[in-house]
Amino acid sequence: MSGAVGREAVFPTRQSLGLMKSKLKGAETGHSLLKRKNVSEVRISTFTYRRRLRSTGINRTPEITRRIDEAKQKMGRVMQVAAFSLAEVSYAVGGDIGYQVQESAKQARFRVRANQDNVSGVLLPHFESYTEESINDFGLTGLGKGGQQVQRCRETYARAVETLVELASLQTAFVILDEVIKVVNRRVNAIEHVIIPRTENTIKYINSELDELDREEFYRLKKVSGKKQRDVAAADAEIEAAREREAQKQLGAATETPDGPEAPDVLGEQEDNDVIF
């Protein structure tokens, strides 16, 4: 029982027993709370995601993986539509605008803002996209030809990127949540497999030590009382012997000097005996 887990280094006293007992109770409460937290974390975040995913148009299966899967599949479709609109541009412009677009990019028009959501004590980031309307690097792209397609393509891609940003927040949240759940799991496991057994061990140890002490004490008391009895018996015997000797002396004196010392203290002698017993 002890081997791997061991026990805490405490003096086996009643006070530390009390401490350990409250510690065990605390650990057990903490364990159940954390366990519930982890479950609720998943559930609450699922809830948050469902809310958020609904905005991206996905709300069918209850499983997180399935949903993130679907979100990614949806991204695939969105990106395909976007890529197609780029094909329309090259059809209308009749050439390649890639290089020109790369070179005219200066300031980001499409940006993101990071917010935080508090999900059962875990701060989850949430990206929110916004556009700087004043920035327009590609206003003149396709001026002579294909400009309308370019504009449409820009809108299509902007919508696609919004979806991407949504997905990125989901994904970041999952990465963080993954981390948190791992940490919490570690704690749950630590409590379950280390702290609780160790505390229990300590309590057992203290109990056994205390019992041992009790037994020792009992034995000691027994010994003490035994010795006392012996002493008393010895004292009795002595007195008995003394009396014996006294009696013999008196007997002897009575034969030799019958009135001698006895005459003045007959009453006193009797009293003396009383005192001794």
Partner: protein
């Protein structure tokens, strides 16, 4: 987690590593940003068949670690495939790395490193 929450307030740009069409499209959406001189840095990299893997890796490191104004890094899945070990070992929350499909390479969920992690997390 508290440490992670501090740094991301000024992350406001997206970055992209991808083939020409993907980059062009995303730039048209307006994500392109070039930092001011003297060291003008772009937040996008065009990858074609001639681009070295080391260049991609360098850009990936640059966007994910050196720069602190990138919130989301978009990377074409077929490009991510070329530096898979780097992408797979990346586990930070910021910036978020998102694998996106390209015109010629449709999205394959089996290869996505985050999806793999999510699957593992929920034991599937």
């Amino acid at each position: 987690m508290a440490a992670g929450t501090v740094a991301y307030k000024d992350r406001q740009f997206l970055a992209v590593i991808g083939d020409e069409d993907s980059v062009t499209g995303l730039l048209l959406a307006g994500i392109g940003h070039v930092t001011g001189p003297p060291d003008a840095q772009r937040n996008f990299l065009v990858v074609d068949a001639k681009t070295e893997n080391s260049t991609i890796e360098k850009a990936f490191q640059n966007f994910t670690q050196e720069r602190n104004d990138i919130a989301v890094l978009l990377i074409n899945q077929h490009v991510a495939e070329r530096i898979r070990h780097v992408v797979d070992s990346y586990s930070e929350a910021f910036p978020a790395v998102l694998e996106i499909p390209s015109k010629d390479h449709p999205y394959d969920p089996e290869k996505d490193s985050v999806l793999k992690r999510v699957r593992r997390l929920f034991g599937e």
